[in-house]
């Protein structure tokens, strides 16, 4: 297996810069997910690592070897494509063993490895079929079989699940995670789906406009986002943002929403920082699960709200609420299903609150 190291990697198409000097190290055996909205450069970056796109600036190392000038075949990598990219004129067996044949693997060894990969992916019964006779999920398994059979030092996944329906996507996501646990292969996975990123990754790279916005564990990205962009990108439904300012009338720093119509004291650990924030504009951020109707913990703020809609999901209810500062979405337990127009006192769990600078979007940390 291998490590991957990107040093100030940049990419331009003509005069358009699409990747802006990315520094990143993926450790041996690690599963790293590139996530971001479409056009953020995540697929381009992956294809640069694969050798399918040239590198305009910077260096890419795989196992400490600079690979900038190496063709894809010399990088010892495997890649699973969004559209499967199975060879339509070859059977499943031939699709899987294509890479082994090119490497002149002996017939017996080739057969053994194809069957082993097919067993792992439960496609042994499909080996004689052609791709056109397979379902989407089966095609994706074949594509993964083609990747694992070669035992490469690095696996690259380019949105491999985005063409599958929701149910199959969940199933294949679990399969990929199981596969990684089994093979412990260094993997880089591109997706625009933050749920995939959160569930699969050891570490997540959040990209936007070709810039690396944040690199961290799923827990970091979710609970300690460095910017409003990252905070708004993770979580489903995403974090709520309300325009806010900080006031300090009696020596206690307060958050003011809606021009002071709602105000509550900042938690004790924010007080020191709060004193320096008076007069600036912020976005107050709170995740749907940190909004409740019953008091939880000590750092709780109460605000008034009116129920707009309740969306029951079975295990929980998503409730859209109108407050003086704007709309909020809350995640309530299944038993809490308020009716539209009902007035509710909301309890915001301030131990999980966030403040972002309104101009720069940067997160503030107490």
């Amino acid at each position: 297996m291998a490590s991957v190291e990107l040093t100030r990697v940049a990419k331009s198409f003509g005069s358009t810069k699409v990747i802006h000097g990315i520094d990143l190290r993926v450790d041996d055996g690690e599963f790293v997910v590139f996530v971001g909205p479409s056009g953020c450069g995540k697929s381009t970056l992956l294809r640069m690592i694969a050798g399918l796109e040239s590198v305009t600036d910077g260096t890419i190392r795989i196992s400490d070897v600079v690979v900038n000038a190496l063709p894809p075949r010399a990088r010892d990598i495997a890649m699973v494509f969004q559209d499967y990219a199975l060879y339509p004129h070859k059977s499943v067996y031939e699709n899987i063993c294509f890479g082994l044949r090119l490497r002149k693997t002996s017939a017996a060894e080739l057969d053994r490895r194809v069957r082993e990969a097919a067993d792992i992916l439960q496609i042994a019964h499909l080996l004689d079929r052609y791709p056109r006779a397979l379902s989407g999920g089966q095609r994706q398994r074949v594509a993964m079989g083609r990747a694992i059979v070669r035992d490469p030092q690095l696996f690259l996944f380019d949105e491999p699940l985005s063409n599958l329906d929701a149910l199959l996507r969940n199933e294949m996501r679990t399969e990929i995670k199981k596969l990684h646990r089994r093979l412990r292969a260094t993997s880089i996975y591109v997706t625009h789906d933050q749920v995939e990123a959160m569930t699969l990754a050891d570490r997540i790279v959040v990209l936007s406009g070709g810039h690396l916005m944040q690199l961290g564990s799923p827990d970091d990205i979710y609970h300690r986002p460095v910017s409003k962009f990252v905070a708004g990108f993770t979580g489903s439904p995403p974090m709520n943002f309300l325009p806010a300012s900080v006031a300090r009338p009696n020596g206690v720093a307060l958050v003011e929403l809606a021009g002071g119509r709602e105000r509550f004291a900042l938690p004790a650990r924010w007080q020191a920082l709060g004193a320096t924030l008076v007069g600036r504009d912020f976005e107050f951020g709170i995740r749907p699960e940190d909004i409740g109707v019953e008091a939880r913990g000590n750092d709780v703020a109460e605000i008034a709200s009116t129920v707009i809609v309740t969306e029951p999901l079975g295990a929980e209810n998503l409730v859209t609420l109108g407050t003086a500062g704007g709309e909020l979405t809350a995640r309530f337990a299944a038993g809490v299903a308020p009716r539209p127009d009902e007035a509710l006192r909301l309890r915001l769990d301030l131990s999980h609150m966030h403040l972002f600078d309104r101009q720069t979007g940067e997160a503030l940390r107490p």
Partner: protein
């Protein structure tokens, strides 16, 4: 009312199709019928459509009067060689245009299209002089080289559109699997573009097979004549032996018909379905 309209539209389509088929096949069928009638029956009035007296004597005569076998062999060699060379060159050119990030790609494509619009007559003298200068007159390359040049533009255009229809990620997958760019083209793109390759091949072959002007001018020696030139020689100064010419034409048509029938079977659509999503 609506049913009637549909009925009429269907009929019109049928009539249109019949016109196309009759127009295309009548001359060929007429030549075939002529080739199995004795000479006297051709000038008999009233006209006999189906032969009253069936004979294969014309086919014996056609090989006796002229070395038709030699002309046939010359045509096969020239047309096959020019087809193979045309396919190799046009496949590479088309791949480059369809796939690589070429500077002035559109300009190159326009130049290729423009080059196919020159009338052959204007090219005849320069080609003749060139061939004489390099000492190739009355050789196979004298015809193979210009035939390749003449077929290249249309074959390249056909292949460009076929190559463009093949998803790029198939080649990317092959290159990651261990193929070179040329290997990916050869093992993945060309087999998948088979319908296009066969179409281009048939175009190149028929172009070369039918060509008369260059064949007459560049290879005038008897041993180097191709079929179109050879068949023209059955015509005497005062005679026009239609029955013999018809038999010769049938001999000339058969290889093309066999070729097309053979390749048509291989020009199977939908070969690329299933490899990619959707």
């Amino acid at each position: 009312m609506r049913r009637n309209e549909l009925f009429t539209a269907g009929r019109l389509r049928l009539i249109a199709a019949a016109v196309v088929v009759v127009n295309g096949f009548f001359p060929a069928v007429w030549i075939l019928l002529t080739s199995v009638k004795p000479e006297l029956e051709l000038v008999r009035k009233p006209i006999t459509y189906l032969p009253h007296e069936f004979t294969l004597d014309n086919y014996v005569q056609v090989f006796r009067q002229q070395p038709l076998g030699l002309y046939l062999a010359n045509s096969v060699i020239v047309a096959s060689a020019s087809t193979v060379v045309t396919l190799l060159v046009s496949a590479c050119a088309a791949y480059a245009i369809a796939r690589l990030r070429l500077r002035h790609r559109d300009l190159i494509l326009s130049a290729i299209i423009a080059s196919s619009t020159f009338p052959l007559v204007t090219l005849l003298v320069p080609i003749f002089q060139t061939m004489r200068a390099v000492g190739l007159l009355n050789t196979y390359p004298a015809l193979i080289l210009p035939y390749v040049v003449l077929s290249l533009p249309v074959c390249t255009l056909v292949l460009v559109s076929f190559f463009q229809s093949i998803p790029r990620d198939l080649e990317n997958a092959a290159m990651i699997d261990g193929a070179t760019r040329f290997g990916a083209m050869w093992r993945i793109v060309v087999p998948l573009a088979a319908p296009g390759v066969f179409t281009a091949g048939i175009l190149a072959f028929v172009n070369s097979w039918d060509e008369f002007l260059l064949a007459l001018s560049l290879n005038s020696a008897a041993r180097m004549r191709t079929l179109p030139v050879g068949i023209a020689l059955y015509q005497g100064e005062f005679t026009f032996p239609w029955h013999i010419i018809a038999a010769a034409l049938v001999v000339a048509i058969v290889p093309i018909a066999v070729l097309i029938a053979l390749f048509q079977e291989r020009v199977v659509g939908g070969l690329t379905t299933g490899g990619m999503k959707g």
